[in-house]
């Protein structure tokens, strides 16, 4: 097996690993780095469970070759919690009963985060678009949309107070 070196920033930390040539970022995160929050739901790019953030954009880690991440900044759900404090999105998903089986939740939260990072005052349609590539089979989406809107509100409040 051909191993190749990859170097990228993962949740704020420099990471260098030898991985199997041609493997996906998803395989590297789960198999190599033990970061299991990134879920494998289809390996086709159609479910969104493996969504991560690369250089500020949502990406499907199942379709991203790990070697192409060299020099990039990768964020997984593990990177959202700082010193144990939950991100407002995580808080809003909890309080809004927006997770049931929880399998789509990491991808949903990251997809929503890229929206809120760019657009602090999203409309309902903006939220719908942001999660449009993420499949949820349990909730009917409604609580997820509400939770993202609530989190946006809280983030705006935080900024005001800061």
């Amino acid at each position: 097996m051909t191993k190749v070196a990859v170097q990228f920033t993962l949740n704020g930390q420099e990471q260098s690993e030898f991985i199997e040539g041609g493997s996906t970022l998803l395989a590297a995160l789960r198999g190599k780095l033990g970061l299991y929050s990134t879920k494998a739901g289809c390996h086709q790019g159609t479910c969104g469970a493996c969504t991560v953030i690369i250089d500020g954009e949502p990406r499907l880690s199942c379709l991203t070759l790990a070697e192409r991440c060299t020099g990039k900044e990768v964020t997984t759900l593990e990177g959202l919690t700082s010193n144990g404090a939950l991100h407002p999105l995580q808080q809003a998903f909890m309080e809004g009963f927006a997770a049931q089986c929880g399998f789509c939740t990491p991808g949903m939260i990251l997809a929503a985060k890229t929206l809120l990072d760019r657009n602090p005052s999203p409309s309902r349609d903006d939220v719908i678009d942001a999660i449009s590539g993420n499949i949820c089979r349990c909730t009917g989406y409604e609580p997820i949309i509400s939770a993202v809107l609530t989190a946006a509100e809280q983030l705006r409040g935080k900024k005001k107070n800061a």
Partner: protein, 455 residues
Amino acid sequence: MEYRKEYFSDARREDLTEVGVTRQRSDVLGHVTGKTQYYADRTFPGLLHLKMVRSPHHHARIKSIDISKALKVPGVVRILSAKDVPQNIYTILCLIQVEPNDEPVLAFDKVRYKGEQIAAVLAESEQAALAGVAKVKVAYEELPAVFDVEEALKPGAPLVNEYHGRNWFTYEGHHCRRVRFGNVEEGFAEADHVIEEMYQSSPIEHAPTETTGCIVVPDQNERYACYSNTQALYFTLDNSALILNSPFHKLRLIGGTVGGGFGGKVDVITEPIAFLSAMLTRRPVKYEYTREEEMQVSSPRAAERIYIKDGVTKDGRILARKVRLYVDAGAYSRHSPYGTTKAAAHMPGPYTIPHVWVDCHCVYTNRTPSSAMRGFGVTIGDFALEVQMDKLARLVGMDPMEFRILNAYRDGDMKAHRKEVQGAALVECVKAAADLAHWPIGERYKAMSSEKREA
């Protein structure tokens, strides 16, 4: 979400403190931080990946299976076929005395649906296993296939499943599960209108975001632990032990945290072959459905065809209901004989009808075996019943809400399966929904109750 506490207010305990109140989900912190551990969120050194050789045909005789080239693919460790499986023929509901065993774990003489499992390729990586699968050569002789439930019941239809000897499941000597209550022909004769309608569904996928799968890990003491997302641990353990001819205590199932089930994870497909693979290689083995397998190979909700013939009076009383229901079980029983009985038990819906005749057929065809799904045996029946109810209401010129209230079952009524109604609440649900939707209903109907039938 609002409570309508005026209904059944005297039956409701008001002294509860821990139930009846919202508590935060105990698992939600894990969900929102990604720390919830699903079966696949583990790494085992030396893990082997299992990929399946599947039938490309709907119905065919297997003439030969050649694994020699596949064994030469770098990374391929072992390939299992039917002869490796101790008790290859099983049926999952043997645990509740459903007979006969009718399904091979790995097909050997025949394939009966497209996608059926034939040989399991074990390899060091998923890519190697997939490459191995591509190199297994199976020679087939295609057979005529049958896809329509009523065609399958006709004399001369291709025989799908030899273990049944006919294309239907036999219920205690009957070719279907039957319910007989009153005399429907009398009811039709008394009725002012008689209509017969046909309803049809097609198979539906559970589509959990986490696909079905498991990892089996041998321990140092000849026991095998299976991390699984099954919906029923003991069902899986017991069936696996029977298939493997293994003492039950050698097997252990660990699970309980599942990325969505909806009935799709009550079959026992991935675990027995993963157990066997771990036993034969003494290495951890993972068998996980791809999304494509989950959608086309794992059991869907059965397609159903339902004929409903009703006799109704001009003032809106249903006198007789005759139902012929066909469950498309696909090639094997799985849970369908059970679901078909459940469908029969559900008829004629939550209404009191003096004359009921029900025949529910569990039919074998050359498609992916169907199985349990949310609302098993009921969901499609409800679609048919409730569209039929709408047609009947319009036929007699009644408001559909009022028509339901009038015919709704009440406490003390006798159901078609001869069980007295208790705890009915359909009338109240209809009234509350009418209220919610600002749908006017007459005072006469508003006064009706599930607890007693009005004079």
